[in-house]
Amino acid sequence: MAPSENDIAIVGFAQLPPERRTNLTESDLVLRSTREVIAQVGIDKSEIGFTVSGSCDYLSGQGFSFVQNTDAYGMVPAINESHVEMDGAWAMYEAYVRLLQGDIDIAMAVGVGKNSNSDPSTLFTVEFDPYYLTPLGTDTWTLAALQARALIDSGKATERDFAEVVVRNRANAKSNPFAQVKGDYSVDELLAADYVRNPLRRHDLPPTTDQAAAVILARGKRAYDLCERPAWITGIDHRIEAHLPTVRKDITTSVSTRLAAEAAGAGKGPIDVAEIHAPFSFQELILRESLGLDGSTEVNPSGGALAAHSVMTVGLIRVGEAANQIIKNGKNRALAHTTSGPCLQQNLVCVLEGDQ
């Protein structure tokens, strides 16, 4: 297609190898991932009109940690910069909106999360309702398990189905050089493990990962200067549900995902590949249904979020992996999804298309 000047594409994507425990700082990770994506598209950093990152002070345990991270951009002379306290996928969304203003052509979005400094069984208690949940130490695994139990009791899925999601993602991850958890497993061997939070076992939970990733977006014809086959963002939408899972009508489905997919135009044509951010195995089953995916869509060829789960980076990696299906693999239409909050509270859907 001949792009209009308001068409925005992803033209480059770089991710660092995921690590269970890096000895680098978040700033180091930002530097390495942004250097790599800038080199990949062959520009000078001064050509970037807007830079935005997604990271979280609570993960690093340091107030204003993102300010230190900006050292990695080279901020002299001053640059146009922003930050979201969310996954880098939302930083990418802000970069997209910024490009729509029409006065700049290139933007960079970064996600970084050094997750190994904190304990996921306690850290996320501060993310939830401070009156009704945090005083009880209600943790993220518990809330996911309550949703999983509801899914089982609804008759839509079994623990075996959960394990099958894990087996498939870990097998897919074998061909992904950026996977932390991968390999051949059998459903029966997985089901032999103890529960961490009944009905969830360790394999149903996301791994703990230190990682960073970055994408470069370009507007209009400029995209072709940086990339032979740009991944055009033809639709993007973000929907949020009530923060207390108990006031949602049915937590075995994801209304916000369905609405975001509709608004992003996911159903306007066949989707070749979908990269879904399901932190917990069973959530992939909910998301597939809510996204309206059928058997013709390849889901998570990368191994998805079960293969590496750096909170603040994992969603941007879904976007980057989906974009690479177009940029490198010649696919026509790909979908990227990311989530945030308890029990799939917030969902972002991005539809990417290549020139036909």
Binding site: L24, S60, Y131, N198, V247, R248
Partner: protein, 340 residues
């Protein structure tokens, strides 16, 4: 010489007072009296109450309803190993519990004894703290326990008359999180040099700027710097900026009198070393342009325990402070537009 520290345990702890607003004040004030309430909005009773109807975002109003103390479990899980943040120190369940008189469940703890006792449909009842210990917080309910009598709760579903003025309008919370950071290669280089009584920086091969202490990168050129870019810098420089801090009392604050923190531009460096203390100069006499030199702690008193990734450029307990050299001041305007 003591080894440099490889891992740093950091406890993020702070007290916090939350104001509750009218809906949660009503809930908390009732709870402290042993009564759980919900609010009727949009045709259903939401318990515990929210300020808004989640379906319409409309104000959920003040149509209060008595709910519980018994209820029915609709979903559940089991915590085999409680954390320090959980309210019970032995294995327990979390559950969605729809209290009698309510249409939506609440999330709470079930002290059921064993995992096998948990099931959807089980009847449970609230076990409150001693009335004297109740403060109107959700953990005034220690836990739900299997109901001794499964029959419906008395009075559930009846209107609740809220007092004209709520007794409880605030809630105390406490954050208690632990982090274990590990020293980055750059931090280790800095800590090791300090322990040896040396100050180091990294000189960027692209822009030739010397950055003190090392950051592992040039924050102008955005390129990686490593051990090969380390340069020695002298323990002498000029105060390029300062701020006077008037301490306000908060938990953990040990300062009581106004004190200064200074940025120092070391001779030959391009980035300042920040947050430094000037010794024996009254706060009122501090100024930009003073020549200073480093004062090291005696070798046997040096500790790298505080030299972590977040204290970039800090001297921890190894640098006692900086003392004036007595040389004439430099003109202050020479120190404008300095990098951090």
């Amino acid at each position: 010489m003591a080894d440099t520290v490889q891992e740093f345990v950091f406890n993020l702890t702070f007290p916090f007072s939350r104001t509750l607003g009218s809906t949660l004040s009503t809930f908390s004030s009732a709870l402290a009296q042993g009564q759980i309430i919900g609010v009727r909005t949009g045709g259903r009773v939401i318990a515990p109450p929210l300020e808004y109807d989640p379906d319409t975002a409309a104000d959920s109003g003040t149509d209060w309803v008595c709910v519980g103390p018994k209820g029915t479990v609709s979903s559940w899980t089991w915590v085999p190993e409680p954390t320090n943040l959980h309210p019970l120190d032995h294995a327990f369940g979390f559950a969605f519990i729809t209290l009698d008189g309510a249409d939506t469940p609440m999330i709470h703890v079930v002290d059921a004894g064993s995992e096998s006792a948990m099931s959807a449909g089980m009847r449970v009842e609230a076990r409150f703290k001693d009335p004297a210990d109740c403060v109107g917080r959700i953990d005034d309910i220690i836990a739900f326990v299997p109901a001794s009598d499964p029959s419906p709760s008395e009075g559930a579903g009846e209107p609740f008359e809220a007092p004209a003025e709520n007794e409880i309008t605030e809630m105390d919370a406490f954050c208690d999180l632990q982090y274990v950071d590990n020293a980055s290669p750059t931090t280790l280089m800095w800590a090791k040099a300090l322990m040896e009584g040396r100050l180091i920086g990294q000189k960027c091969p692209q822009c030739a700027r010397t950055i003190v202490g090392p950051r592992g990168m040039c924050s102008v050129c955005a390129i990686e710097l490593d051990e090969s870019h380390i340069v020695e810098v002298p323990g002498r420089g000029v105060v390029s900026n300062f701020t006077v801090v008037t301490p306000t009392p908060y938990p953990g604050q040990t300062e009581t009198e106004p004190f200064a923190r200074c940025s120092i531009l070391l001779d030959g460096a391009d980035a300042v070393i920040a947050q430094q203390e000037i010794l024996e100069v009254p706060v009122s006499e501090l100024r930009v342009g003073i020549h200073v030199e480093v004062v090291w702690a005696p070798e046997n008193e040096r500790s790298a325990a505080d030299i972590d990734n977040r204290s970039r450029g800090s001297g921890g307990d190894i640098i006692v402070g900086w003392r004036t050299t007595g040389e004439p001041d430099e003109p202050a305007d020479r120190y404008l537009d300095r990098m951090m």
